[in-house]
Symmetry: C2
Subunit: 403 residues, 2 copies
């Protein structure tokens, strides 16, 4: 059997994702489709709108054979660390290709850009460092460094966030010398950051926005997703009584900051360059999550960067912990969130060749990376009623979702 | 001018307290009455029903001239540490006597018991240690140790909680060799732990219980307190929308435990003897504060002890911090929460003789003991709405309450 890998968040799973899976199957000989998915929190530093199990169920009904969890330590990170963790996970599970979306749908520009990037690596790194030293944000400094080595004017424009993510996947494969073919699929449209739903192919951002604002599942929203996503969104809401978003976490996040010293705050992953003082100072007058981030935000500290550090604060994740995990040369386990029969066949064969364990639930003596995952889920579910929370957390100790 | 000191919680201020102040004035030549009062959290490990400023206002209207804050580090502690902090504070402010309530109203039994306690100190300490080693709770082991040196069958029975507190005051005065006369006043009745209101002299416990359960101020409750207490209770509730009690803090307390490692939990003051494992284990199924404490409670770990450690957990107070503070030979400052003109005259004279500062508000570079106080208040107010919380916290940075 041959498998292809997708790197996803499915927050929530929508029509664009259906298209991506179909095209990935067309573009490869794979008879098994494996998605590695963020868990409770997402790359841009947000709680997932519904939990990972409900997102897994939706994916399994729409063409994915195995859903793996991207460990928290890689998931809530910049694109390079995110890609590194996702690619290493897919490598362990034995995919022969990874399919990702891009504007052009052509892989050669990514490969050519990688060659330039390696050839001019010293120049790139110097420009990046200088940019950061000048007080630029990381995305801004990266963009300028890509410009310096002429990767913003060629075949792919590495000042565009989507291209940067794709380029991170290519870098992770090639940097690690992995036997994985990078494949890219043309996006159906380029509405990645659209704020409103305008057709049945809509951005996840616009879908989430409408769900949270209207607090019900309307026809306009349902048209953008497979039926199963709507089922899972509704099922999760029936027990949780809401869809997750940052404002729900504001009281506990704020409480934490108000009872921590600046020294403790500075130990949290992502709280760098004296940001602890800015967070403490603004906390006194903060009345909502969005208002608080607005107060902290500057040219240098982007909204996403602040959201990410707030996730790490919420989950009590320190710099020391993350440093240990992201230095690992490979992932210590692969965690299966869910699978179907095809996935089961694939895994039965694959596991004989693997040197690391395939896990599904959290057990006693779980590896530290999985203990961190448990803590992240505990934080994620902390806004539920006690009864709903007890039910939700139990899933972490059960087997995978079976479709 | 001569001052007498009272050690109080005023949670809330009631008719029994009015009687205590009157009798204290009769029993001394004092023309200034100074109360040292717990702040946001109380000796038995509970949030105060209304904040310290509203409790201060009530006290100033009913015969107290100066209200001092008992620092958090001493307030939420066993009776010996509580008494030590309170007596040291009253000593710095220059009281010549301390008046406390007791069953008998006679001081000689306390002084005689102290003599026996010193004479048989080795025997007492050995018995106490043995009791604890056998798995008895601290109160139980103390009671048995007092029995061993025959202090439970004489003039005062040191197996009674009230007598133990009075005895702690006497010990703190005499151990520290302070020029303070201990005076005791006969309690009006011995209903200290009554659960229901049966007359206009009722226990603070029964008053709080009725306030929380009925959520309104009724005539039956009002009869137990001076008018000013009713005014302050209502004023606080008008802004906070509730009277404080433990259940309000359950979600954030629970969240904290769910995102802490057992190692971090074991660093919290009061989490001893592997209790961190018990707390973590029970957290999974906990649905309310009271149910959770019931799950943790054993013969050895009393309800009060668990409540106290939960306060320290809520305020993020570590063993290391507390160890520094309670080893201090004297208090580093005296904090005035409120005063009247008599109090002001007294302080003007007294401050010339003092070697430590008299503070009222929290400023930059506050001493660590006061920084801890600020953190405790932040935790206390964390259950308020953002708007009410901002207003409440501002008081910490203002001057004292003036009557």
């Amino acid at each position: 059997m041959e498998a292809t890998g997708l790197i996803v968040e499915y927050n929530p799973f929508h029509n664009g994702h259906v298209y991506h899976i179909k095209e990935a199957k067309k573009a490869t000989n794979a008879n098994c489709t494996i998605a590695v998915m963020s868990g409770s929190f997402l790359q841009r530093g947000e709680p997932a709108i519904i939990d990972k199990y409900h997102r897994t169920k939706a994916a399994l009904k729409s063409g994915i054979d195995i859903v793996l969890e991207l460990p928290y330590a890689f998931a809530v990170q910049n694109s390079d660390i995110f890609a590194h963790g996702a690619v290493l996970t897919l490598h362990e599970i034995g995919v022969s290709s990874i399919c990702f979306g891009s504007e052009s749908g052509r892989i050669s520009p990514f490969l050519n850009s990688y060659k330039t990037y390696i050839d001019k690596n010293d120049l790139f790194n110097t420009a990046l460092k200088m940019g950061l030293a000048e007080g630029k944000s990381f995305p801004e400094a990266s963009r300028d460094a890509y410009q310096k080595i002429e990767l913003t004017s060629g075949e792919i424009d590495l000042s565009k966030p989507n291209n940067i993510l794709g380029f991170s996947y290519v870098k992770a494969i090639l940097n690690n010398g992995l036997p994985i073919e990078p494949i890219t699929i043309k996006r159906t449209n380029n509405n990645f950051h659209d704020q409103t739903i305008s057709s049945d192919i809509a951005s996840a951002t616009s879908i989430r926005k409408r769900l949270i604002e209207h607090d019900v599942l309307e026809a306009k929203t349902e048209q953008t997703m497979p039926k199963e996503t709507a089922v899972q969104l509704q099922a999760y809401k029936n027990t949780a009584s809401f869809w997750h978003h940052w404002e729900l976490y504001f009281p506990i996040l704020h409480y934490r900051v108000m009872t921590m010293s600046t020294e403790e705050l500075a130990m949290i992953h992502g709280v760098d360059e004296g940001l602890e003082h800015r967070i403490k100072k603004t906390a006194i007058e903060a009345t909502s999550f969005n208002q608080w981030v607005t107060m902290i935000k500057t040219k240098r500290y982007t909204w996403t960067r602040i959201q990410r550090l707030f996730v790490h604060l919420l989950t009590n994740t320190t710099k020391a912990e993350i440093a240990t995990f992201i230095k690992l040369p490979s992932v210590p386990y692969v965690r299966v969130l869910g699978l179907n029969q095809t996935g089961q066949h694939y895994l039965n064969k694959r596991k004989k060749e693997m040197e690391i364990p395939i896990l599904s639930n959290i057990k006693r003596n779980a590896p530290p990376l999985l203990k961190l995952e448990e803590r992240a889920s505990n934080a994620y579910y902390s806004v539920l009623s006690p009864e709903a929370r007890i039910q939700a957390i139990k899933q972490e100790f059960k087997g995978p979702v079976i479709n």
